[in-house]
């Protein structure tokens, strides 16, 4: 139990520090590297919650796919000028309002403690005790209960592929 707690705080520190560096760095490449650190922390949190399939998907798809795409675009688009310019726009009022709302929520949680959230507490031994593995359970649910959304997701990906090619191509 202790090792779980320690690992949670390590991964949480990775996630939050990576996220803060992502939105504050001047260079887009540094932001991308910090975002990779943050995404790896999220993958670790998935593993802590025994979601092994999502852990693998997170690393292969996010870190291996989306971040490589981001780095490609950063290299393709000339960002030198943007790195020298002013980094933040003047939307401080909106930013402070967002911070205040979430800050109030966190303060309420800290004030009331865990008892305020008893509905979400762990009722049983969790998913890991079932006979089937995590990947098998996800596949069962995905291909029976969520078959139609699964097919719609494939159409969505097809549209995204065609759309991004059309956008990025010089002449169609």
């Amino acid at each position: 139990m202790l090792i779980d707690t320690v690992l949670f705080y390590i991964f949480a520190a990775m996630v939050l520090s990576g996220a803060i560096f992502t939105i504050t760095r001047r260079s887009a490449v540094h932001s991308a590297i910090s975002l990779i650190c943050s995404l790896l922390g999220v993958a670790g949190l998935f593993l802590l919650q025994r979601a092994e399939f999502l852990f693998a998907v997170q690393i292969v798809l996010y870190v291996g796919g989306i971040m490589v795409l981001f780095l490609f675009v950063i290299m393709l688009v000339n960002l030198d000028l943007a790195a020298k310019a002013r980094q933040f726009n003047r939307a401080w009022a909106v930013g402070i309002a967002a911070v205040a709302v979430v800050g109030a929520e966190m303060a309420w949680f800290l004030y009331r403690g865990r008892a305020a959230f008893h509905i979400a507490e762990n009722g049983g031994a969790g998913l890991g005790s079932a006979a089937a593995g995590n990947t098998e359970m996800i596949a069962d649910s995905l291909f029976s209960e969520y078959l139609l959304p699964f097919e719609i997701a494939s159409v969505l990906l097809l549209v995204a592929v065609v759309g991004s090619v059309v956008m990025a191509k010089k002449r169609i």
């Binding site: 939050l16 939105i23 999502l54 675009v73 310019a85 930013g95 995590n134 969520y146 995204a160 759309g163």
Partner: protein
């Protein structure tokens, strides 16, 4: 030392959502705005998996897969738009693209 419960994950998810929102609202560079959107979607995923673990229900993880699918589609199309924009306007600053503004 307290054991880690669902509310720890929810607090972390709220903090990550906050950081992503502030990034979307205050940064000028479009690439970093897109990265902040990825942060927001990851916060949603942490939330879904935490509830899936707490309620011993696999549906949350299936939803997280759909969220990841959307994130991939959004990143691909968004970066395609960014390349087209840079070719036409030679800028990646969000507040310099004000063609529809009065």
């Amino acid at each position: 030392m307290y054991p880690v419960t669902t509310i720890h994950y929810l607090a972390l998810s709220a903090a990550l959502l906050l950081i992503g929102t502030v990034g979307v609202l205050t940064r000028r560079n479009i690439v970093i705005i897109l990265m902040s959107i990825e942060l927001i979607l990851n916060a949603v995923n942490i939330n879904l998996v935490a509830f899936s673990h707490a309620l011993s229900n696999i549906n949350g993880q299936v939803f997280a897969i759909f969220v990841i699918t959307d994130a991939v589609a959004e990143a691909a199309v968004g970066l395609g738009i960014l390349i087209a924009l840079f070719r036409n306007k030679e800028t990646v600053q969000a507040d310099e693209i004000d063609l529809l503004k009065w």
